[in-house]
Amino acid sequence: MSARERILGRLRAAPAGSPAVLPDLGAWRAMHPPPADAAAAIALFRKNIEAARAEVHDTTAQDWPLLLAKLAAGKGVRTLLFGPNTRHGAQLAAHLNAAGPAAPRLVPYNRPVDKWRDELFDDIDASLTGARGAIADTGSLILWPDASEPRLMSLVPHIHFVLLDAALIHANLLAAITAEHWATGMPTNALVISGPSKTADIQQTLAYGAHGPREVVVLLCNTNGDKP
C-alpha cells in the first residue's frame, strides 16, 4: 500500500462526525452589500488602496500615457518594462517613442525570463501592466498575468504602474470570483495585489519594498473619459 492509500484509508476509517453541511454564504453576502453606485465603489477602492500606500491618479483612456510619462520622469525612472503585445502596451510605445529622449527607455517583456533574468532583476526600474479588475472593500488590484504580460512584471521592478478601468471595480473578492466565474477556469496564476510590498518583521516597524515593488501607482481610467 502506498502512503496515499494509507492516509486516505485512515481518514475513511475515522468515525463519522457531524454531517457535511454546505456553508451558507448568503448571510455573508448580505453583510457585505456592494457600494451604492460606481462613484462610491471608486471612492472606497481609492481610500483603501491609498491607506496601503499605493498612489491613485485619475486619468482617461486617451491621456494616461502622458500622465505615466510625467510620473515616471518625476520618479527618476530610466527603464520601463511593458508588454508589447497588449493594446495598452502598443498605445504606450506609440506615445513614448514620439516623446523623444526625455522619456524612459521602454523594455519589452518578449522572451523567456531564463534568457534575461539578471537584466530583469538589475536593470529594470519600473513596469506597466493592465489590471483585470479591482476590489473596493480591500483596495486591491486583480491581475491575471499571461504570455503578453508575464507574472514577474508586477513583482521584480521597483515601481509598478497599473492601468485600471474604473468600471471594473468589484465590491469584494467573493463578488469578483462569483461575477467572473473564476471557478470555471483558473489561469496559471491569479494575483490580488493591495499596495506595495511590505514587512513589519523588524520590531513591528512597517517598511515598504521588502521583496516586491516599493511603489504601486494606479492610473485610474474613467470609461466616460471624464475625471470623477
Binding site: 457531524s18 525570463v113 471557478a183 483558473m186 520590531q203
Partner: protein, 392 residues
C-alpha cells in the same frame, strides 16, 4: 506508519521558562509585540457581532471541508494533476523530506529558496536538505534574520519577534559582507532585499507553504506581504509546495471568508499585500513561472487527530496565530526558549509543554493556568500576588 501522538516531555522546560521570566529585555519585546498585535486585531473587528458571525461562517467552512476530507483530497489531487501539478503524499516527516530530496537530486539542485512554511519547520526540512548537501535559504525577512542568527522562529506570523533592531543591526554587520551597522529599519530591510534578490535569481527550487488548497479548481492559495512567496513560486525552475492534508477547502468561494478572518486576526490587516493563486506550472508560450510545480501533502499524525472527534476540531485551525498573541503563557515565556511553541494542528508540537496529557490541552490557553504554572515553576507562595512576575 503514521506517528502516534507524542506528548513531549517538558525537558528543560522549567529551566528555560525561568530563564525567560528573568530576562527583562526579552519580556519587554514580547509584551510590546503582543500588545501591538492584540490592539491591531481589535481595531479590525470593531463589531463583536460581525466577528462572531464571520467566525461561525469560517468554522462552518472548515467543518464542511473536514467532513468531506478524503473526498476533497482526491478531488484536489485529480484537479491539480489535470492542471499539470504533481501531487505527493507523505505519512511522516522523513517521507516528506525524501520526496523533496528526490526532486532536488533529479534537477541537481544546490540552492532552495524558501517562502515561509510552518510545515517545513514541522518536518525539519532545512536540516534534511542540508544533511544532503543542499543549501536552504529562508527568504521571509523575519525567517531570514532568524536563520542568519542560527535560531528558530519564535512566532508563526512574526518569526523574529524576539529580536530588537539593535540585535538585527549587529547581526547584519557581522554576517553580511560589506554591511555597516545601522539601526534604521528601512536600511535593514533594503539590505535584506538586496542580498535575497541575488538568491531568488540563483535558486534552483522555490519552496512554499499553502494557506488554502482549493479542491474544485486545483488551486494553491498563498497569502503574504513581502513578495518573497511570489518570488519563490515564480522565479526558480521548480516550485515545491508543502502543506498538511487538512488545508483543503471544497470551493473557491469558500476562501474569501477565511481570508477575511486570516490577516485581520493575524496581524490586524484587512488584507495581505499579495494573494497568490497558483493553478498550474508555466504553460506553452508563457515567459515565466516554474516549469514544474509539486505539492507534498503531509499527514504526520493528522489522520490520527482526525480519528478522534474531539481532536478533529484542531484541524479546523487556519493558523492565524491570534491564539499565540493572546496566550498569557506565550506572552511571558514565548520565543526560542519555549521550544515546542508552534500552534496549530501539528501533532508533534501541538501539545505545548504544560499540557502533560490530552485532558490538559486547553490549560495552555486558560488564563487561570498562569498562577498555577508560576507556582509550578518557582514554588512561590500563591499569596504573593503583588510580587508575581506573571501578573503584569
Amino acid at each position: 506508519m503514521s506517528q502516534p501522538i507524542q506528548i513531549h516531555p517538558a525537558k528543560g522546560f522549567k529551566e528555560r521558562s525561568l530563564a525567560a521570566l528573568n530576562d527583562p529585555a526579552q519580556r519587554k519585546n514580547f509584551r510590546g509585540a503582543m500588545d501591538f498585535l492584540q490592539m491591531k486585531r481589535r481595531a479590525q473587528f470593531p463589531d463583536p457581532k460581525d466577528l462572531s458571525s464571520l467566525r461561525d461562517l469560517g468554522e462552518a467552512i472548515r467543518r464542511y471541508s473536514l467532513a468531506r476530507l478524503p473526498d476533497l483530497l482526491e478531488q484536489l489531487e485529480r484537479n491539480l494533476t489535470a492542471n499539470g501539478i504533481q501531487v505527493h503524499w507523505a505519512e511522516t516527516p522523513d517521507q516528506a523530506n525524501a520526496i523533496a530530496l528526490g526532486i532536488a537530486r533529479r534537477v541537481d539542485a544546490r540552492l532552495i529558496a524558501k517562502g515561509k512554511s510552518m510545515v517545513s519547520e514541522e518536518v525539519g526540512f532545512n536540516h534534511a536538505m542540508e544533511a544532503a548537501g543542499i543549501e536552504t535559504l529562508e527568504t521571509d525577512m523575519g525567517e531570514y534574520i532568524v536563520q542568519l542568527a542560527g535560531e528558530a522562529p519564535s512566532h508563526i506570523i512574526m518569526p523574529a519577534i524576539h529580536k530588537t533592531k539593535q540585535q538585527i543591526a549587529a547581526l547584519f554587520a557581522e554576517k553580511i559582507p560589506g554591511v555597516a551597522y545601522s539601526e534604521d529599519v528601512d536600511t535593514l530591510i533594503q539590505i535584506g532585499r538586496r542580498v535575497l534578490r541575488r538568491k531568488f535569481a540563483a535558486a534552483d527550487i522555490g519552496l512554499s507553504g499553502v494557506n488554502f488548497a482549493v479542491a474544485e479548481t486545483g488551486t494553491l492559495f498563498l497569502v503574504e506581504n513581502e513578495g518573497n512567496g511570489r518570488m519563490c513560486t515564480t522565479v526558480p525552475r521548480v516550485h515545491i509546495a508543502i502543506t498538511g492534508i487538512e488545508k483543503v477547502v471544497a470551493k473557491l468561494e469558500h476562501v474569501p471568508p477565511l481570508n477575511s478572518l486570516l490577516p485581520r486576526s493575524a496581524t490586524g490587516q484587512p488584507v495581505t499585500t499579495y494573494l497568490n493563486l497558483i493553478s498550474s506550472p508555466r504553460k506553452a508560450g508563457e515567459l515565466d513561472g516554474p516549469e514544474e510545480v509539486h505539492l507534498i501533502l503531509v499527514d504526520n499524525g493528522r489522520t490520527q487527530a482526525y480519528g478522534d472527534l474531539q481532536l478533529r476540531a484542531t484541524l479546523q485551525c487556519i493558523r492565524c496565530g491570534a491564539c499565540m498573541n493572546h496566550c498569557p503563557v506565550y506572552a511571558r515565556i514565548g520565543g526560542p526558549r519555549l521550544r515546542h511553541h508552534l500552534s496549530g494542528p501539528d501533532r508533534r508540537h501541538h501539545l505545548a509543554p504544560p499540557a502533560r496529557s490530552r485532558r490538559h490541552l486547553p490549560a495552555v490557553l486558560r488564563l487561570d493556568a498562569v498562577p498555577r504554572l508560576r507556582r509550578r515553576l518557582s514554588g512561590a507562595h500563591p499569596d504573593h500576588r503583588s510580587a508575581d512576575p506573571l501578573a503584569q
